[in-house]
């Protein structure tokens, strides 16, 4: 006799839809939070992993591997020590090395980090599914004072080809420490990648040298100014760089090259495997993620508790209804099923609604989030992991619904055909 009970439960719940819809909404919002947190976590991870996909090693001055990785690839955190250009040349000459991308960081333009590199960057840098960078318009830098903008930097600041920009020393807190005497011309804008590249202003290593010719120790040298016209007279070969992204001819050589770099004589260096550094990162933020997940699970718990409370509270007004059902032949077991079905059904509706809300929200927020954080929100069917979460919510809802079910069972046994109220 289950089908009529499902229908009855649905009709009865529909009759009380005003009160129930609010609790269903609460469950939906909590499920949205739970799945949303989980999705964001996966997307942040995915975003990080997408950011550098072709590199076998990241090389820099010895220090914290995670810091080197975060700074050189994600432009997060503090500057690390620099390494000598001679070391870069030695590295490039190693027989197992296929290519090297030297990068120099430290300056910025209106909050967007400046990365100095050479043409190897455009040739060898890979992101996502081993995709190379593409220019949306213009060309890579040729002259000294030319810059190539990431898609987001160009979009957000409204730059087009030919615009002149001024770089700031350091992260740009001080207006005094800028390179106003040596403005750059935008010659190229990269296609969007969804990685930190989008937020980066790219210049040549020579340009990095040029704007710092008359600088020392992070400040302009007093009384000395070298106009932009004359920089060509100087040797613009870089003396140091922040890091080198290294591609090997064969992945099999990765550990031997790593050992060779770690034992480098001329200066203390280290070579980091990007995957290993990311694993360290996940370990570091794992506790935060777990705490976030625990909080959202708790919110789901509160939502379900509210739902059960509402179903329980409605029970007293439904004693007559239950007595009528008993009179026409419902067993106390049917009454238990009826109430449990109601709670379960509401949980299922809440969970599905939460998922739909999340999907709608993702669709609405995608342009914004993509622009601001370089994250692309996934929409569509739930992943296996999300299905497990949804199933967990529904099972919890079912177990919790046994409480009003059991209470109704007791009430209908005690009341029989004549409810006491």
């Amino acid at each position: 006799m289950t089908p009529p009970l499902v229908r009855l439960a649905a009709q009865s719940a529909w009759n009380r839809r005003a009160a129930l819809s609010l609790t269903v909404l609460a469950v939906a919002l909590s499920v949205m939070l739970l799945i949303g947190v989980e999705r964001l976590r996966e997307q942040v991870r995915g975003g990080f992993e997408q950011s550098v996909s072709g590199a076998d090693l990241i090389v820099g001055a010895r220090g914290s591997p995670l810091q080197l990785m975060l700074y050189s690839v994600f432009r997060i955190g503090e500057a690390t020590h620099n390494m000598q250009w001679s070391s870069v040349e030695a590295l490039a000459a190693h027989p197992a090395v296929a290519w090297t991308i030297p990068v120099s960081l430290g300056d910025s333009h209106r909050g967007y980090p400046v990365l100095a590199t050479n043409h190897a960057y455009f040739a060898h840098f890979r992101y996502g599914d081993r995709r190379s960078l593409a220019l949306a318009e213009g060309h890579a830098f040729d002259g000294v004072f030319e810059a190539v903008l990431g898609a987001e930097a160009a979009d957000a600041l409204g730059y087009r080809l030919g615009d002149r920009i001024v770089l700031a020393h350091g992260s740009g807190e001080s207006r005094l420490a800028d390179h106003a005497d040596k403005p750059f011309t935008v010659t190229g804008i990269l296609a969007r990648t969804g990685t930190p590249v989008d937020n980066t202003v790219h210049i040549s290593l020579a340009a990095m040298e040029a704007i710092h010719l008359d600088w020392q120790g992070g400040a302009p040298i007093p009384g000395m100014q070298i106009p932009a016209e004359y920089v060509q007279k100087f040797d613009l070969k870089p003396k140091t760089v922040t890091a080198v992204i290294v591609g090997l001819k064969s992945r099999a050589a990765v550990f031997s090259v790593q050992r060779w770099i770690n034992d480098f004589r001329a200066e203390p260096l280290m070579a980091v495997l990007p995957g290993v550094a990311l694993a360290q990162l996940w370990q570091a933020i794992g506790y935060g993620e777990k705490a976030l997940l625990a909080v959202s699970a708790l919110v789901v718990g509160v939502g379900l508790a509210g739902l059960v409370a509402v179903v329980l509270a409605g029970l007293d007004q439904r004693r007559r209804e239950l007595a009528i059902l008993r009179a026409v032949g419902a067993r106390p077991r049917d009454i238990l099923t009826l109430l449990t079905l109601e709670g379960l059904g509401l949980t299922v509706i809440g969970a599905l609604l939460g998922f739909v809300l999340l999907t709608v929200l993702s669709l609405v927020a995608t342009p914004l989030v993509e622009a601001r954080f370089g994250l692309s929100l996934t929409t569509g069917l739930p992943s296996v992991h999300e299905l497990f979460l949804l199933a967990g919510v529904i099972i919890t809802g079912f177990v919790a619904s046994l409480l009003p079910g059991w209470r109704a069972y007791r009430v209908s046994l005690a009341d029989g055909l004549t409810p006491k109220t």
Binding site: N15, R326, R331, L417
Partner: protein, 228 residues
């Protein structure tokens, strides 16, 4: 002589301390329509719960349609009630959020036997509702949109659908005015006679007794005397 619909001998029931019901003999034959006079406090609702198999007597015999109810398990008594009994209460008989038709069809949902005996349940419900003077326009309305008198007639239709052998009515007319009472009684007794169901009609209003085949007084029947 056909077997009685209800046969009670030395039935006793109590709510723990004070005895509540103690009936030496009670028999109800087929096609009989019995008026059972029962003022409040005479153990009336206990008696009805026993007849319906919701409560089980502490001692004595209670045989309904050949089945010894006290010997049946709880679920079997529920099934028995669904299959063989039609119940009408004083008021609030209907599930408010169901339509009139769905309310009448409820017993068929819980009892395969009633469904089978009704033939086409929707046609049977329509026929009963029409016989009970309910306009077809009302059938799809929510039950709580009807007047009390209309609701009682819907309840009668629900009790009668699928031709159960025993109809138990507990003060079904007390919420109706005198004219409506008469009309309702006419319809109820006529339909019971038509379907061959035995009827136990409980009321504290003796004036109604005249149209029944037999009249009994629960206080006389109940040797336990006054009880809650």
């Amino acid at each position: 002589m056909p077997a009685p619909v209800v046969s009670i001998a030395n039935l006793r029931f109590d709510w723990g301390d004070a005895p509540c019901l103690d009936i030496a003999v009670f028999e109800l034959a087929q096609n009989e329509q019995v008026f059972l006079y029962g003022p409040s406090g005479s153990g009336k609702s206990t008696f009805l719960n026993l007849l319906a198999g919701v409560l089980v007597p502490r001692a004595g015999e209670l045989v309904v349609l050949g089945a010894a109810l006290p010997q049946l398990a709880g679920a079997a008594r529920d099934r028995f009630r669904a299959d063989h009994l039609g119940l009408i209460f004083q008021q609030f008989n209907l599930i408010p959020y169901l339509s009139v038709l769905d309310n009448v069809l409820l017993p068929c949902r819980f009892s395969a036997r009633r469904q089978e005996r009704a033939g086409d349940p929707r046609q049977a419900a329509a026929r009963l509702l029409a016989h009970l003077d309910l306009d077809a326009a009302l059938w799809t309305r929510r039950a709580d949109a009807l007047s009390v008198g209309q609701q009682q007639r819907v309840a009668a239709a629900r009790a009668l659908i699928g031709a159960p052998e025993l109809i138990v009515a507990d003060e079904p007319t007390s919420a109706l005015d005198a004219d409506r009472q008469d009309a309702f009684l006419d319809l109820l007794t006529r339909e019971c006679a038509a379907s061959g169901a035995a009827l136990v009609f409980v009321s504290h209003d003796r004036r109604l007794a005249a149209r029944f085949t037999r009249t009994l007084s629960l206080p006389d029947l109940n040797r336990a005397g006054a009880a809650p």
